[in-house]
Symmetry: C2
Subunit: 142 residues, 2 copies
DNA sequence: TATATTCCCGACTTATTTAGTCAACTATAA
DNA sequence: TTATAGTTGACTAAATAAGTCGGGAATATA
């Protein structure tokens, strides 16, 4: 089990965005340089974040992105599901085809994976973007 | 994030083993047939389970495997780590190379992943093999 | 002792997913 | 009118996971 870098990057980038947003929007170029994430890859990621209304885009020169809500209103679970890091460990569907109908021993372990899903999801639902972005972290570095 | 099928199979197979063990050892062939998991793949998995002293093997005709301890003494975390499902979401090492030293904003999110690791690990540490294998599940099907 | 069964083990192939790139476009500030 | 920055789909490369193969060793039983 692992979290892929896409979700990690999304969280990192949004933390950066939260910290560096002041008056104007923050460009991906800047985030890319600061966080050392490929610009082209960031574009892919922010496309999804925009579709899920986590960020808003401003085009053109001086353009960039800004959060569409307060950081304290954005759950990490939303971010991860936006970039398709679906915290869904196992789907029974595959097995159904082979005779797993929820009654047989084959399904003995399903409840376990369901519980696990719930366990992980609740972790990310409790965490807010604002929990990660502390202004003082930023100031220390300047 | 997802749990791979290797870990899933390991848990399924051991649940099966627990339920079907009576006097003699249980062969992988039987588990393979009941759980619909490739025999060759099971061999791979049980090799690791044996190395980690979760099961013991009995060779030869009428051979097979048995648990090396009571099911109530086997944590799921052991099973998963045996088959290399290391529940380690992110290692900072990769990033260190690119300048992540635990102080910069790049590491802002690390604490998060560490917490997540702990959260998931504690889930699997609390769960025992015996929690999954209930004799009555078996009897219902006979 | 011969044979079938079962575990043992490394190497190999294939499939799937993730990570990252490219090219061509649209909008807008200066 | 030009440089900047987001938009989009398609593409490639790399990594990982899943699964297979072939040959070997141990042992119960006939």
């Amino acid at each position: 089990m692992k979290l892929t870098s896409k979700g990690r990057y999304a969280v990192m980038a949004l933390t950066d965005l939260t910290l560096y947003y002041k008056n104007g929007p923050v460009s991906l170029r800047d985030i890319s340089l600061r966080q050392n994430i490929s610009l082209l890859y960031l574009e892919q990621i922010f496309l999804k974040l925009r579709k899920y209304k986590i960020v808003e885009s401003i085009r053109g020169k001086k353009g960039g992105y800004r959060l569409s809500r307060k950081a304290s209103d954005i759950r990490l679970s939303e971010i991860l599901s936006a970039v398709d890091e679906n915290v869904k460990t196992v789907r029974c569907i595959k097995h159904l085809k082979k005779g797993c109908n929820g009654k047989s021993i084959k399904c003995n372990t399903h409840k376990l994976w369901d519980e696990l899903d719930g366990h992980i999801n609740s972790f990310f639902e409790k965490k807010l973007l604002s929990d990660l972005a502390h202004k003082n972290d930023l100031e220390k570095r300047l």
